[in-house]
Subunit: 234 residues, 2 copies
């Protein structure tokens, strides 16, 4: 078959412009030592009562990333959060309404900063480890985004976006354990983090906790950004 | 603005289905110690004579990945090659014909296995370091795919897909230097590769070369796949 190449020929076939492009946002949060994702209940007949990611059709006048930020802002009230495009999902029958190719983004938010805007459909934070069936191919999309996040947190300290500004080492370890779904050795974990030297000891302790209060730290963004510039290369 | 959520409401607005989705393939090859990319000359008025990536509109009945493999097969005759989706590019005015969101893939091929199928437009392997201006946003797409490849070759030995089956350590180092655009220390490079123990010494030497013939090696795919399964985790 001889192809009409979109990069070399003007397209005469008007039905090339017959797909819809959407964005779907995997919004990760961390709460009660669990990695969570923000989901909305679908009321499409095909997926009645099932949970789906937050997404929308890209508008004609907006870029993909703008569409993803719009979805996030409209549902959580947040603007300035960590967000990363992961990949496109385009299986032929992935959406019952027609050919919809969706671009998946994940973002990392501090749950306590989120003000949920529900409109008509129920919106809920779900612990990822308890999630089973979802609407559309959203379980696949979530899994792919989770794997990207797992890969990323080993390489870059993006996980701090999910924590409060002040946190204990126990909270930090809980976060990594929740994201990577493994148990980590307490001593090794602390040693590794202190060696990287990105934690600032605040000389404060946790308040009103049911256990012995732990020391609080914050992440040294400035130092990390300096180091990062130095470490580029093989 | 109150959004019609594509995951919760049946879409009545028919003009949601008015975008085109394409795939663009960054086909990397390695030849004469240079990292190259396969490009086609555009004859769209807007980009007359400029070089563009190989791409095409996704057909209604095919998945994104199938479309990318189709483009590759039609132009190079190759089927079974390393290919990876990188991300979607969807700036509002990226294509002069209309709203076209493109999904970028990169693939790694052995140039000597490629049979170029030119049809009407000129097709050519370009050294990446010499490339300047390109059609559309293809320079950005190429750069993003190159960065993904650079990231990947540090983590996984995918670079072997660009080499002949039998190669010398000099060729291997040249490949890494071309991809990463750095000079590497010969002794450290060899030490690192021998430590990973993925090279099989073929007890053969190069034939008909203008310099002292070097020993030839091949990549131990089996051992690598075994190791990889063991190394998952933090």
């Amino acid at each position: 078959m001889h192809t009409k190449n979109i990069n070399t020929h003007r397209i005469e076939i008007s039905d090339s412009f017959s797909a819809a492009v959407s964005v779907d946002c995997v919004i990760f949060g961390f709460d009660e030592n669990e990695l969570k994702v923000l989901l909305i209940e679908s009321d499409l007949n095909e997926f009645k009562g099932k949970w789906s990611l937050l997404g929308d059709i890209m508008h004609p006048e907006e870029d993909l990333e703008s569409a993803a930020y719009r979805v996030l802002r409209e549902r959580t009230g947040l603007e300035d959060v960590y967000m990363e495009q992961v990949q496109a999902f385009g299986a032929v029958n992935r959406h019952p309404v027609g050919r919809v190719v969706t671009i998946a983004y994940y973002s990392l938010v501090n749950i306590s900063h989120v003000e949920l805007k529900t409109h008509n459909n129920e919106l809920h934070w779900h612990a990822i480890k308890d999630l089973q069936d979802m609407a559309f191919d959203h379980r696949d999309i979530l899994q792919t985004c989770l794997e990207r996040l797992q890969h990323k947190v080993i390489q870059q300290p993006v996980g701090f976006n999910l924590l409060p500004r002040k946190f204990s080492l126990r909270e930090l370890q809980n976060l990594y354990e929740a994201i990577l779904d493994v148990k980590l050795d307490r001593r090794n974990f602390r040693k590794k983090f202190f060696a990287m030297d990105y934690l600032i000891d605040l000389n404060e302790e946790e308040q009103e906790v049911p256990h012995r209060p732990a020391r609080l730290y914050k992440f040294n963004h400035e130092k990390y950004n300096q180091q990062r510039k130095k470490n580029l290369g093989f």
